[in-house]
Symmetry: C2
Amino acid sequence: MQKLSENMEDYLETIHALSREKGVARVSEIAEKMDVKSPSVNAAMKNLADRDLVIHEKYGYVTLTPQGQKLAAAVQEKHDVLYRFLTEFLMISPEQADQEACSIEHAISEETFDRFVKFFKFLENSARTQKPRLLRNLETYLKTGKKVTCECERA
Amino acid sequence: MQKLSENMEDYLETIHALSREKGVARVSEIAEKMDVKSPSVNAAMKNLADRDLVIHEKYGYVTLTPQGQKLAAAVQEKHDVLYRFLTEFLMISPEQADQEACSIEHAISEETFDRFVKFFKFLENSARTQKPRLLRNLETYLKTGKKVTCECERA
DNA sequence: AAGCATTGTTAGTCTAGGCTAACATCCGGG
DNA sequence: CCCGGATGTTAGCCTAGACTAACAATGCTT
């Protein structure tokens, strides 16, 4: 099985999101959400159906197969972690973070994502236990460019 | 001027690298480094020359215009920071880090990159001043999955 | 139950960016 | 000088993934 293209991953992700939001996914909704026209969606559904990632009955709904589910969930998970990193630690606006997570999510290997998740949890943990030191220092630094040495270091 | 595609950014980056490594960039070298055939390079050079990003004399060398330089340097900078983050903090192997930096570099906006650089410097600074606490804890965590609360917090 | 708006599908076209095969130019060695 | 191999270019083709225009199915509304 050939690796999925970024575009096809995006389709899966969108179907996944729609299914969770509205229960089902329809061609027109997918088109609208992805800002493409319905014939493009149609072609993509044919592609994904051929790979057994979706089921698309003529003039009917689109649903993910278990395989498609799994892939979509993996992409979604990357999206979510990236989004949280961008908003919580880089303080990017929600809209922009969402958009960028959407690009970056396709560029990251499983291996790297796995480590990044750990890294992220570590940061969050530090932010919690050292609160508000580490995070506040970072925030100050991001805003002012001034380095703040850790208080516990100076002590 | 239309935004550059990822592929064209890659061409610029490769020309930039070759120019620095060997002084000049030739079609065959670009092709080899990017693992494409020379007619593809040719088409890309025509594209980039039309945008005034490179100069490509017939049967001759390829050089970056000042504009091309600037763009290439920006891409390169993203690559470098990402590479360092991946190797130093996520402990990804040099080869894989290089490869992934190559994908991720195209997916990041100027805004986000800017903040990420600050974030990265902050991390490096913490790693230096708190050495070896923060980094060692992260390393332990990445390897074992065990969370380690900051020593200065427990004190 | 029929008609029409909505929705989905098909056919055909376009662009980016690959490729191969064939042709053109360049340059070093005889 | 000139010839052959290396290098560069052109022409023509392919695929992914978008689009428009035209056609088909569905289903709500009366």
